[in-house]
């Protein structure tokens, strides 16, 4: 049962962030980047489907029931994934923090005792390696670009920073799964993550935020208010016409 909820949590992370990135389609600063953001969104939404598919095999619901028929408290994505980002700097500040985490996390998850999860991790790891490359390029260009872009990127880092600590918390339900090797220990990834992020942020002539605040609650369903609006938009059709095929 707890492996199921852990898989759904990872799926929710991917879905909600993929959805946020898909909001950028047609809205990026130039055409080439528009295609790039859509590619990342497609990677994440594809990952969500694989993970929901695994959850279904573990005895859960199907992917569309998970995505379209649960309310906010039943979603267990971490808060950083659901934050709105209609500003390009915010989008890539959040993306960088998550991409660096994903590279470490999915690398470790490839060693999962759960073969399906290990397989999904192998695919996700490759994607994450590329995502880091792209988001760190943006961190660098915005941080070390104009005064305006520097200020915007610094502000964006400050705005999302307090949500990153949740990435390194092991939900209590996961403790035994970590112990038996099904899931990596999130806490041990923090040192490598902090080092990598510090190095990238400083190379971009930016400052690592002071980090004296932190918000958490996603894995237990205590979300920001933003998630409700995201779900209202995403779910309205299946909820208006229940029980039909699309």
């Amino acid at each position: 049962m707890s492996l199921l909820s852990a898989v759904v949590g990872l799926a929710d992370d991917a879905l909600v962030l993929g959805h946020r990135l898909s909001e950028w389609c047609g809205k990026a600063p130039f055409l080439e980047e528009d295609l790039a953001m859509a590619n990342t969104a497609l990677d994440l939404l594809g990952r969500a489907r694989l993970l929901y598919g695994h959850a279904e095999k573990l005895g859960g619901s199907n992917e569309d029931e998970y995505a379209f028929l649960r309310d906010a408290p039943d979603f267990t994505n971490l808060l950083i994934y659901e934050l709105p980002a209609s500003d390009f700097a915010t989008a890539y500040a959040r993306q960088l923090l998550i991409d660096v985490f994903d590279e470490l996390y999915f690398d470790a998850l490839q060693g999962s005792q759960d073969d399906t999860l290990a397989g999904i991790a192998a695919k996700s790891y490759k994607e994450a390696v590329y995502h880091v490359r792209h988001s760190s390029a943006w961190l660098l260009r915005l941080g070390d670009g104009t005064d305006e872009s520097h200020a915007r990127m610094q502000q964006a880092l400050e705005d999302v920073w307090g949500y990153h600590l949740e990435l390194f918390e092991n939900p209590s339900a996961d403790v035994s799964l970590v112990a038996n090797g099904a899931l990596p220990d999130r806490a041990v990834l923090k040192a490598a993550w902090s080092e990598r992020v510090r190095e990238l942020v400083e190379r971009a002539t930016l400052t690592v935020p002071a980090g004296n605040w932190s918000v958490a609650g996603g894995r237990t369903g205590v979300h920001t208010e933003h998630l409700g609006f995201l779900l209202a938009e995403m779910q309205h059709l299946p909820r208006t016409y229940p029980g039909v095929n699309w």
Binding site: E32, A36, N39, Y130, R133, H134, A137
Partner: protein, 94 residues
């Protein structure tokens, strides 16, 4: 208003053992961006295993007005083609 980003030409090797072929162009400010966008734009459907990007301005192209002088002189050298030669009946492996 900043000036537009430069044009790059994109070449894709569709599979190992084949040459890189020109597939199109894109705009990017520098080589690293151009390489990333070449990947994002021109290999979305598994079109390639290797990419080249080159600034369009760095390509040296033959000129249309030179075409006659450059290429027409090759048209009187049929002896460079295998089909030019008469072979006796029955000869093999030539």
């Amino acid at each position: 208003m900043s000036e537009p980003m430069p044009l790059f030409e994109v070449f894709v090797r569709s599979k190992r053992g084949l040459e890189h072929r020109h597939v199109g162009s894109l705009r990017a400010q520098d080589a690293e961006m151009a390489m990333q966008y070449a990947r994002e734009i021109y290999t979305r459907r598994q079109e390639g295993v290797s990419l080249w990007v080159v600034r369009s301005g760095d390509i040296v192209a033959s000129q249309e007005e030179d075409a006659a002088a450059f290429f027409d002189p090759a048209d009187d050298k049929p002896y460079r083609q295998a089909t030019y030669y008469d072979l006796p009946e029955g000869v093999k492996n030539l």
